[in-house]
């Protein structure tokens, strides 16, 4: 039952994402660009390059993957310490 529910949810999400991306003309920019950046540029204070600029090819993908893995590992490690499986708790 749970697997069917999860499968259905993933299918619905994938369908929604496909329809959204296929037919929408939105740029899906972040609010940093669409709001913060817009007002900053109008006020002649455009954003500067970050100290470590990751906007090079696939580098953002790698760094986000590493950040997700590190964050996920840390969260999971402490989660297991605080919420041990029922048979061991």
């Amino acid at each position: 039952m749970k697997i069917a529910l999860a499968g259905g949810l993933i299918f619905l999400l994938a369908l929604g994402l496909y329809i959204g991306l296929r037919f929408s003309e939105c740029k899906w920019a972040g609010v940093d660009e669409s709001v913060v950046g817009k007002f900053a540029i109008e006020a002649n204070r455009p954003p500067q390059e970050p100290l470590i600029n990751i906007e090079r090819g696939d580098l953002p993908l790698l760094l986000f993957l590493l950040a997700g893995a590190a964050g996920g590992f840390t969260a999971g490690y402490h989660f297991r310490g605080l919420f041990p499986p029922k048979d061991k708790g």
Binding site: D32, S34, V35, P47, P50, G68
Partner: protein, 244 residues
């Protein structure tokens, strides 16, 4: 000697930040270079006492509670992941991120939330081009201080007034998100309004955030209820241990 070495490091870091090249970059929170130096310093000054008190609380509460540090680690990782996760909002046609500080504040308290938020924001500014080091004080003030204290106070007040934990948890998530973006709007308005009236500029920025942050705030409210319900079901004693 140690203090002198630290002072030199701080001066070098700040000087190098001020001479960064003027190239557009797009990141979440308030990006590098948007705030003029005096405003950046002011927001560092606003955030610093909260961070200092938070670090002191880690030491004091950690002495009597062996489970505090794992909880801080878990909550810190959650804030890091949640606050760098761009979520598409179909109603607005753009992406934004929730903050996670409402959940953090009701589990570990507002001061410890300031600490974990600061760590998350430093890592994001250094390695993910999210936010910036010169704007770190402003981002800690909006997400860490305003988000955490609003979420925490909403939870306490709503629970006392209604007697229902889920109303408190929902409001903590919702209002912490909205407080964060309201303070960000205020920070941008004070620094960038120029000759325009401050109040009008503030409202213009705030309204620009509405299409994304109204739905995301509601999502964050439900997220908060789910997380609280999970702990209430699995280990309710943790809520008593970490009650501030």
């Amino acid at each position: 000697m140690k203090i002198r070495r630290r002072s030199i490091t701080v001066i070098i870091v700040f000087t190098s930040l001020l001479v960064l090249p003027d190239v557009p970059a797009f990141a979440m929170h308030i990006s590098e270079g948007i705030l003029p130096v005096r405003w950046a310093i002011l927001w560092f000054a606003v955030s610093a006492p909260f961070l200092f008190l938070g670090l002191r609380e880690v030491r004091l509460r950690g002495q009597n509670n062996a489970q505090l540090k794992p909880m801080i680690g878990l909550v810190g990782a959650a804030v890091f992941i949640i606050s760098c996760m761009p979520i598409p909002v179909p109603a607005a046609g753009s992406c934004s991120h929730p903050c996670g500080t409402g959940i953090a504040a009701i589990f570990i308290g507002p001061l410890l939330t300031v600490v974990v938020t600061s760590v998350a924001l430093v890592l994001q500014a250094l390695f993910l081009a999210h936010g910036g080091l010169t704007t770190l004080g402003a981002n800690v003030a909006s997400m860490g201080v305003a988000g955490a204290f609003t979420g925490y106070l909403s939870f306490i007040l709503a629970r006392r007034l209604t007697g229902r934990w889920w109303i408190g948890a929902f409001l903590a998530g919702l209002l912490s998100d909205w407080a964060t973006y309201s303070v960000t709007s205020f920070q941008l308005a004070t620094a960038l309004h120029g000759n325009a009236p401050l109040g009008k500029f503030f409202l213009t920025v705030l309204i620009a955030f509405v299409p994304t942050q109204v739905p995301l705030g509601i999502v964050e409210g439900f997220l908060c209820v789910g997380a609280y319900k999970f702990i209430l079901t699995r280990r309710p004693e943790l809520l008593k241990i970490f009650a501030v």
